[in-house]
């Protein structure tokens, strides 16, 4: 069997973390090619349902990245993200999915290096966890 290659989905808010990911690119910061970014306007628009949907269909991990607390383009949007995503992780745990498969972090538009760091670390963490068991029961 070939080496496990995690398939990861990342939600990035338009104003901070998507821009941070762009900056990582501009600075040619290298990172594992396992993370696929979806742009949303605010991390607070990421429904926990999206996380559940992705993981239930066998995606190995979900990253939710937003502006730092206090820097949200929409003032307090990310306050809600900060509550919602950890709650989603707890629900995942209840149904037997490792909550480490979802990670919430804050990356500003100036933090290309942090984006690189978070992506690299998360891919490594997911690699350790192994393939999402839901891959087998995909329906």
């Amino acid at each position: 069997m070939s080496e496990f290659n995690p398939n990861i989905l990342a939600f990035c808010c338009n104003w901070c973390s998507y821009a941070g990911a762009d900056l990582a690119g501009v600075n040619r910061l290298q990172m594992p090619p396992n993370v696929n970014v979806v742009r949303v306007m605010c991390s607070a628009s990421v429904k926990p349902e999206y996380v559940f949907k992705a993981l239930s269909q066998g995606i190995d991990g979900v990253l939710v990245l937003g502006c730092h607390i206090g820097d949200c383009h929409y003032l307090t949007g990310n306050h809600r993200t900060a509550k919602r995503i950890p709650l989603a992780a707890r629900i995942l745990e209840k149904v037997g999915i490792d909550p480490k498969r979802v990670r919430l972090d804050w990356v500003s538009a100036a933090e290309g290096e942090k984006f690189q760091h978070v992506v690299t670390e998360f891919v490594e963490d997911i690699r350790k966890l192994g393939p999402n068991p839901m891959r087998e029961v995909r329906f």
């Binding site: 398939n7 989905l9 338009n14 104003w15 998507y18 821009a19 990911a21 762009d22 990582a24 690119g25 501009v26 040619r28 910061l29 290298q30 990172m31 090619p33 696929n36 970014v37 979806v38 742009r39 949303v40 306007m41 605010c42 607070a44 628009s45 990421v46 429904k47 926990p48 349902e49 999206y50 949907k53 992705a54 269909q57 066998g58 995606i59 206090g70 820097d71 949200c72 383009h73 929409y74 003032l75 307090t76 949007g77 809600r80 919602r84 690189q116 995909r138």
Partner: protein, 564 residues
């Protein structure tokens, strides 16, 4: 029928050196709904854009996906091309395979190509579900409110009035001028600040369209660009003003670090602003003066350079020497920040006229010792590499400007963000320096960051110019990424109402049904309400749960198919 055109960009070698563009094109052709897939050397060039437009016509495309760089810079360009080819600009989807792929996986061409395929599949899946959108329009009230009548606010108000725009200037103090009220001369050119303020307020008061509110505060602020409702309270009564734009010029205050360097404990230790007051009243008797720069700045907790204090020290050292040429002035500093020709000349002149400069480090800060006769300052001179004692009649602390104590309330009132030091944050550090991300609200002067009087005037005039754009236009367009409610699904629970950071949603009667209603002009398109809805009844245009769900499905599909 959905007919999607996919255009993969080489971006010269930027993308093509890591991503096999032809392979991605072949893959795109297999995706559902794709009627055409092609590639361009530079999609954003005139040639690239015309080939996209030509292809739209030839293949009767009704959705367009460009896989190239970042939407943050190039989306408007491609949207415009779509419009020119007769496609609603909201039927365009951008896929980022440069910043998010080729540039970060330069040494893994195979993996980069596979990832580009996934990203394109996701973009195509979303594009298939895109819907044309109409941009709303909203009227703009031709009136502005400027909060703060320091030099920046005065400049902004004068400039608005000059353009014929009715302006309310709100000042919490009993007179205008802000920090400059107590400063007679401003450096480095030696401008008479009272004359400057007098000219500006004179121009303002001569205008029939000006309303100056002294001893007043903005108590309430509601609304959105073009339609703000501002309640101004002067302690006795409240007045309501409707305005199209707001300029924030609330300034900064001088830090008074009582207890540090003997400030507040010893009468001979004062701040630069207190020295300014003595100088303007010619009350200075001290002959031997030691100034300590960076008192309270560039240290843990307040790391920033306040920019204006070095020049204030230099200017005041010179003013002291002008008043009493036999005085001895020492400036203890960490670095002298006197940028620009005039300020640098001032620094040189100060040296030539005998002002003594002693450099200290953060690790060995000067100690102010107070005794019966006077004060002395013990400092480790970095250049001499030894400790020296300086006797003084007066010690002047050059302290930084800090955000005013009420900036928290101001930020809550206006719904604008602050940085970690409490200064307001503009929309974009380089491209939108005097605008807040909240449309129709602008910022200038030291409310944003410590700036000198000249910069305050620039920024005030810049903010006025920006604020006058929607006012002279008379209307604003609203980007169609706002939230919309499916009243059949809405249970009128009000979750979205509390979730909305902009108070844009209310529960009301919607054609006979009690449901949530989004005020389009007030909605900023964050989607916070979408995730708060239990019934999937509220959706964000261009980011619906069906569209994002389709992207997830496409990623799963592209991965399984890729693995086979």
């Amino acid at each position: 029928m959905i007919k999607i055109g996919v255009f993969i960009c080489h971006c010269g070698h930027n993308i093509a050196s890591a991503v096999d563009v032809e392979k991605v094109v072949e893959f795109a052709k297999t995706l559902p709904g794709v009627a055409y897939a092609g590639h361009n050397l530079y999609s954003c060039s005139q040639e690239g854009l015309s080939s996209i437009k030509k292809s739209i016509e030839e293949n009767e495309l009704n959705r367009v996906v460009v896989a190239a760089c970042t939407p943050r810079t190039h989306e408007p360009l491609f949207r415009r091309a779509c419009e020119q080819a007769g496609i609603n600009k909201y039927l365009f989807e951008f896929v980022n395979i440069r910043e998010h792929c080729s540039w970060i996986h330069t040494k893994e061409p195979e993996a980069a190509t596979e990832k580009a395929k996934k990203l394109v599949a996701m973009g195509v899946a979303k594009a298939a579900l895109l819907e044309p959108q109409e941009e709303g329009e909203s009227k703009v009230i031709p009136r502005a409110v400027v909060i703060g009548a320091g030099i920046a606010g005065l400049a902004a108000a004068a400039s608005l009035l000059e353009q014929g725009i009715e302006t309310h200037l709100v000042e919490k103090d009993d007179r205008v001028g802000g920090l400059l009220k107590d400063i007679a001369i401003i450096g480095p050119e030696g401008t008479d600040s009272q004359k400057l303020i007098g000219t500006l307020i004179g121009d303002i008061e001569n205008s029939p369209k000006a309303h100056v509110h002294l001893n007043s505060r903005v108590k309430e602020l509601k609304g959105f660009i073009g339609n703000f409702e501002v309640v101004i309270a002067d302690g006795v009564e409240e007045s309501k003003v409707e305005a199209g734009a707001i300029i924030v010029a609330t300034g900064a205050r001088e830090l008074r670090p009582d207890g540090e360097y003997g400030l507040g404990e010893c009468a001979q230790v004062v701040t630069q602003l207190e020295l300014e007051k003595m100088l303007s009243k010619s009350e200075l008797t001290a002959k031997s003066i030691v100034m300590i720069n960076c008192a309270g700045s560039r240290q843990p907790g307040r790391e920033y350079c306040s920019r204006i204090c070095c020049n204030a020290s230099l200017k005041n050292a010179m003013r002291i020497l002008d008043l009493s040429p036999d005085a001895a002035v020492t400036i203890i500093h960490r670095d002298i920040m006197s940028c620009g020709t005039a300020a640098e000349a001032l620094y040189r002149n100060a040296s030539e006229r005998g002002v003594r400069f002693v450099r200290y480090s953060l690790e060995q800060r000067p100690q102010v010792k107070t005794g019966t006769g006077g004060v002395s300052v013990e400092v480790f001179d970095e250049t001499l590499d030894e400790k020296i004692d300086l006797d003084a009649d007066m010690v002047v602390l050059a302290t930084p400007l800090v955000s005013p104590d009420d900036s928290v309330e101001t930020s809550k009132l206006l719904k604008v963000p602050r940085d970690k030091y409490g200064f307001f944050l503009e929309a974009h550090v380089k491209l939108r320096p005097v605008e807040f991300s909240t449309d129709g609200v602008f910022v200038c002067g030291s409310a944003r960051w410590p700036v000198n009087a000249r910069e305050c005037i620039w920024q005030g005039q810049a903010a006025a110019a920006k604020a006058s754009i929607p006012i002279s236009e008379g209307k604003v367009r609203i980007e169609a990424i706002t939230a919309e409610v499916n009243t059949e699904k809405c249970a009128a629970c009000g979750n979205c109402v509390t979730a909305c950071p902009f108070e844009a949603i209310e529960i009301t009667d919607c054609d006979g049904v009690r449901a949530a209603k989004v005020n389009e002009a007030q909605c900023k398109g964050c989607g916070t309400c979408v995730a708060a809805c239990h019934n999937d009844a509220i959706q964000q245009k261009g980011f619906s749960s069906r569209q994002l769900g389709a992207m997830i499905d496409a990623l799963v599909r592209a991965t399984t198919e890729g693995a086979q």
